[in-house]
């Protein structure tokens, strides 16, 4: 480390703070930028500055947005009687890619994780409940789809939400769990296979 000039070390250290970036990758990124043209570097600086200045959380669904309410919440052609609950903004992108879902979203910004100190108060749950209360100017929400991750924490979060939401008279559904398309039954572990069997449907 002592071999590099101080500004280079500083840049490497900043990269190392990013998730999934170790020392070697940080070094690679720093040296890429050292070789890049000033214009390329400026574009990166400008892009970072712009997201930090312009992107906020939607005051209704907590999605990342440059306008508030976001383009989903503010879109009259979307189905306002359905809310799909996801853990992170990038999960929403995965659902949008299917082009099958036309309702609204709600981003929790995480899942219950006691070992990391994340309980219900650390998630955007209260604002979800607020959205289910009848409002004069909006159609009533009829269904909440729980699309938290298919792992222990995502399941516990879905079960928690379901117990909380059902008494409010809304239909609560959970996304199906099972085998990834394009895989082979031979390689499925028994838990995934068990979930796939319980979630089977009539043909």
């Amino acid at each position: 480390m002592l071999d590099y000039a101080e500004p280079v070390t500083k840049l490497i250290d900043e990269f190392k703070r990013l998730p999934g970036v170790g020392h070697k990758s940080a070094q690679r990124l720093a040296f890429y930028l050292l070789k890049a043209t000033p214009e390329e570097a400026d574009r990166l600086i400008e892009a970072i500055r712009e997201v930090k200045e312009k992107i906020t959380f939607c005051s209704i669904c907590n999605n990342l947005t440059d306008v508030d309410p976001c383009r989903y919440c503010d879109n009259p052609t979307r189905d306002h009687t359905m809310i799909c609950v996801v853990e992170e903004p990038y999960n929403l992108v995965a659902i949008e890619k299917t082009r099958e879902y036309h309702g609204l979203y709600h981003v929790l910004h995480g899942a219950l994780s006691p070992i990391r100190g994340i309980g219900p108060d650390e998630l955007k749950i209260r604002s979800l409940i607020e959205r289910l209360r009848p409002q004069d100017d909006a159609p009533e929400v009829e269904e909440v789809i729980l699309a938290t991750n298919p792992n222990t924490e995502g399941e516990a979060t879905a079960n928690y939400l379901s117990r909380l939401l059902k008494p409010l008279g809304v239909r609560v559904t959970r996304i199906g769990m099972g085998l990834p398309v394009g895989s082979d039954l031979e390689y499925a572990d028994e838990v995934t296979m068990h979930k796939a069997l319980t979630n089977r449907h009539v043909m």
């Binding site: 999934g20 170790g22 219950l112 994780s113 006691p114 070992i115 990391r116 100190g117 309980g119 219900p120 108060d121 792992n151 222990t152 924490e153 399941e155 516990a156 979060t157 079960n159 928690y160 117990r163 990834p180 394009g182 895989s183 390689y187 499925a188 572990d189 028994e190 838990v191 995934t192 068990h194």
Partner: protein, 250 residues
Amino acid sequence: MPLRDTEAFVLRSYTLKEADKICVFLTRDAGKIRGVAHGARKLKSKYGASLEPFTEVSLHYFEQENRDLVSINNCEIIRSQFADTISSERLAALHYLSELLMEFLPDHEPNETIYRLVGAALKSLRQTGDDPSLLLRYCEVWILKLAGFFPDWRRCAECERELPMNVPVWLSADGAPQCANCSNQRGDALTSETRMLVNDILRMPPEKFVAQIFDPRALTKLESIVARLIKNTLERELKSYEMLGRLRSL
């Protein structure tokens, strides 16, 4: 690089880089170890549900020379917690148990008793429904005891005199049991109900223990004694401890 295989419980897994996970295992043969599971975050990963907390697995791994981290070769499910409904209370109990084991067990020290305790405790967790508190008291006492942090209440820590059930006992600030003489009757007085409770924990298997009914005051007392022992030992509270209370009150 020798290939090893052993039975193990997954205690925790962290994401590492884009596609990998680091997992902490409680193994039967090698105690607590950490390993890398390459590609475990991918949708079509060969690990599937096997790295979820407290899955019991048959683990095959390579030891890497001069490295603390082992490389996971293969991991097959023996028993999974995921087949049952995972309520938030259950998640909190699993995380608390995992944090206790991660904090109090040394790395690379096999301990058959602890391994069997975890297996039996997970079985009993099914019995307890949404209130696992009895089982958690059971596990706390045993894990602390096996890790050498739960004092023997049957003897005065000062004068080593025996302390039968009918003799009053006081706990000093650091949790050491003392007779009337040595403590000057100062400190935390233990009721015989609390002492009986710990006695029962130490002589009953978990499935029998969680089927009993105990004095709620003794249970609360034991909970606070253990919480203090943990805080004294680690110089902090366990993160999941506070969450147990918050998720219990739902």
